[in-house]
């Protein structure tokens, strides 16, 4: 996020929420938005489903999943043709505006209406509301990123924000809402194949040398494999051993039948987790790790805020803190540099090697409660919002992007577009929330959400269960009929292993970010 959560309530005058079911995915961000609305801020929500915040939006409209780039181009078309853009910001802080201007000129509201299903007048109204609502914040989540055009979608959000000068200001910016407690931190800490901690590229020799000097040894100068690539590589025997800590690809990854096949092929699979997850069941060795309640450490939230996790109870049974397990394994392999006595000692090493975390020490966290990176030194106050005065690359670049169709479109055999997502009552693969009595009682089993008119069309008539089939697999599950979802679209939450939405999803990925297209695939729905 370029902004901070508290800014939404106090400073933002217009919210454009797209591809985020904020009320369910980030409930306490949604309530901030609704509080801002009470003081007069405008709320625009675009989503294939009319979610809770959609019900309260000043402007809400459904749209065809995957048409995001076209929608953004259409909004920019209106803004430029009505001269609502921030000329000063464009002149001083951006480049390549002319190319963008030329391209979006073709995306008239009428053309975009045909692609997206949002009427031309509504596109105009949204564009005007956003352009006049400065400071305006764009909020998005996986609805923007989980597409084969995910990177284009993200670039489109920043195109629109820069066009109206909504960058580097209090309350205005581009805000991806991170879905997991520490997905931000896992990226910050170099849990990625292309970067060391602090996004220092593995391909730069000086960076490699820095870590060689610090650790005694470092990775190669070539970028490693992403999750999806690792799984593919197990089939060819290119990856022989896989070590998985606290992840459950057997529920979370696309095209699960394929994932199962890959994991079965893996010569040596180690899984470290707190439950015997669907992935752990396939492992050769399972290591019992600990939950957040049993260990010390830090999480970094979606607004780059680093906060403490504190041990409340001893590890359950013979389980061990995950950071201790890693150190013991490293020492077992004869490695030095893993003699940490506490999580705090690990953070001290992070402080030295990660410029953006340089000033984030346990002592300061104890005193201040939290610090937002970049925070390079111990006297730095942290950074509530990014890009003030200057972008990290210098000038902000506009990207002229054509709309591209999703990888898989509905046809006569698979007439519905499946989109997947979360429920408020559950989290990710459900290994924690489905073992919580209250949460499980709220939603004990999977269901597919379908528009009331579509339900009639396929002959749903009091049926409690349906079968949903894609080119990759089929699942049987409950059904909820609603008029809050766009016709032709069905929604399945992905928390439920026994009716796993990801048996159906398409593993086609964005060519740059390698993110799978969870938000669009073609399915059929049958009663039985």
């Amino acid at each position: 996020m370029t902004n901070s959560i508290p800014e939404f309530e106090t400073d933002t005058n217009c919210f454009l929420i797209i591809g985020s079911n904020t009320s369910e995915g980030h409930p306490l961000i949604a309530t901030r938005v609704l509080k801002a609305q009470k003081r007069g801020a405008k709320v625009i929500v675009l989503d294939p489903r009319k979610n809770q915040i959609g019900h309260w939006a000043d402007i809400f409209h459904t749209f065809r999943p995957g048409s995001d780039v076209a929608i953004f181009n259409g909004l920019m078309n209106v803004i430029i043709s009505e001269s609502l853009q921030d000329e000063a910001f464009i002149a001083e802080r951006t480049e390549d505006f002319e190319a963008l201007k030329t391209l979006v000129a073709e995306y008239t509201p009428e053309k975009v209406a045909e692609i997206s299903g949002i009427p031309a007048d509504v596109i105009r109204e949204i564009a005007r509301t956003y352009a006049k609502g400065k400071p305006a914040a764009i909020l998005y989540a996986m609805g923007i990123t989980q597409h084969t055009t995910g990177v284009d979608n993200v670039k489109s959000t920043s195109n629109l924000a820069m066009l109206c000068g909504n960058m580097g200001i209090l309350g205005g910016g581009v805000n991806p809402l991170r879905g997991q407690n520490n997905v931000q931190g896992a990226c910050d800490m170099g849990g990625l194949p292309n970067v060391y901690p602090g996004y220092q590229a593995v391909t730069i020799p000086e960076v490699q040398k820095k870590f060689q000097d610090a650790w005694g040894s470092a990775g190669p100068l070539t970028v490693g494999m992403t999750v999806t690539e690792m799984l593919h590589a197990t089939q060819e025997g290119k990856v022989r051993a896989l070590y998985v800590m606290g992840e459950n690809p057997m529920v979370s990854d696309p095209d699960l039948n394929h994932v199962r096949h890959c994991l079965e092929q893996t010569e040596f699979l180690v899984v470290q987790d707190i439950f015997l997850t669907e992935t752990a069941e396939m492992a050769h060795v399972v290591l019992p790790g600990t939950s957040f309640a049993e260990k010390d450490g830090t999480f970094s939230n979606t607004e780059r805020r680093v906060q403490r996790v504190r041990q409340a109870i001893k590890p359950v049974g013979d389980a061990k803190e995950d950071w201790i397990i890693i150190c013991e394994l490293a020492r077992k392999m004869g490695a030095s540099g893993f003699d940490f006595q506490s999580a705090q000692a690990v953070m001290e090493e992070i402080n030295k090697l990660t410029p953006s975390y340089g000033g984030i020490t346990y002592e300061r966290l104890e005193e201040l409660g939290s610090l937002q990176w970049p925070c390079p030194t111990v006297d730095h106050p942290g950074t509530p919002y990014l890009h003030k005065g200057k972008f990290s690359r210098g000038l902000g670049k506009f990207f002229a992007l054509e709309f591209k169709e999703p990888n898989e479109l509905p046809n006569d055999e698979y007439p519905f577009t499946l989109t997947t997502g979360r429920l408020m009552f559950h989290f990710h693969t459900g290994s924690m929330t489905r073992r919580s009595k209250k949460l499980d009682s709220e939603v004990p089993e999977a269901y597919v959400e379908i528009n009331v008119k579509d339900a009639g069309k396929i002959g749903l008539n009091g049926h409690k269960r349906v079968r949903v089939t894609s080119r990759r697999g089929e699942i049987e599950l409950g059904v909820r009929i609603t008029d809050d979802i766009k016709r032709g679209v069905v929604f399945i939450p992905f928390h439920f292993a026994e009716a796993a939405a990801n048996k159906l999803t398409n593993s086609a990925i964005d060519p740059v970010a390698k993110i799978p297209e969870y938000k669009v695939c073609a399915v059929k729905v049958e009663v039985f």
Partner: protein, 136 residues
């Protein structure tokens, strides 16, 4: 003696980063209390946060290492499990090169754990094959 404490920590579910107190009585988790005057959550929580203690002591928790023997996962000691992994990783690395090992860190684990695991991948194994489910 009654041992009651409120331990301030961060919610392990979504990325909002709400603060909460784990209520601990006689070394057992008994409940959750939101954190007033916290900058993000301001004394509130969602239904997941309010129930965050519920899964921690679930009987399904893994409490001991397991090693697959004759197709079945059987209980093992830490030393057996770690020795087996160290030997196997070493063997694969030597025979097929460091890039034949791949590692998934976790968006649910701490910064310190993610740091250590990618350090393990790069400094001990010698590979950049390290990723997590950020995209999922």
């Amino acid at each position: 003696m009654i041992d009651y404490k409120n331990v301030l920590t961060t919610c392990p579910y979504c990325g909002t980063g709400c603060a909460l107190h784990l209520q601990v009585l006689d070394e057992k988790l008994v409940g959750v209390l939101p954190a007033k005057n916290h900058v993000v959550s301001e004394g509130g929580l969602c239904i997941k946060g309010w129930n965050v203690h519920a899964f921690v002591n679930h009987p399904d928790r893994l409490t001991t290492p397991l090693i697959r023997k004759n197709g079945k996962l059987e209980e093992a000691t830490w030393d057996e499990a770690l020795t087996l992994i160290a030997d196997k990783f070493g063997e694969v690395k030597t025979a097929s090169g460091p890039d034949s090992v791949a590692i998934l860190t976790s968006a649910k684990c701490t910064n310190e754990e993610n740091y250590l695991l990618q350090k393990f991948a790069r400094a001990v194994i010698g590979t950049n094959n390290v990723d997590h489910c950020a995209r999922l």
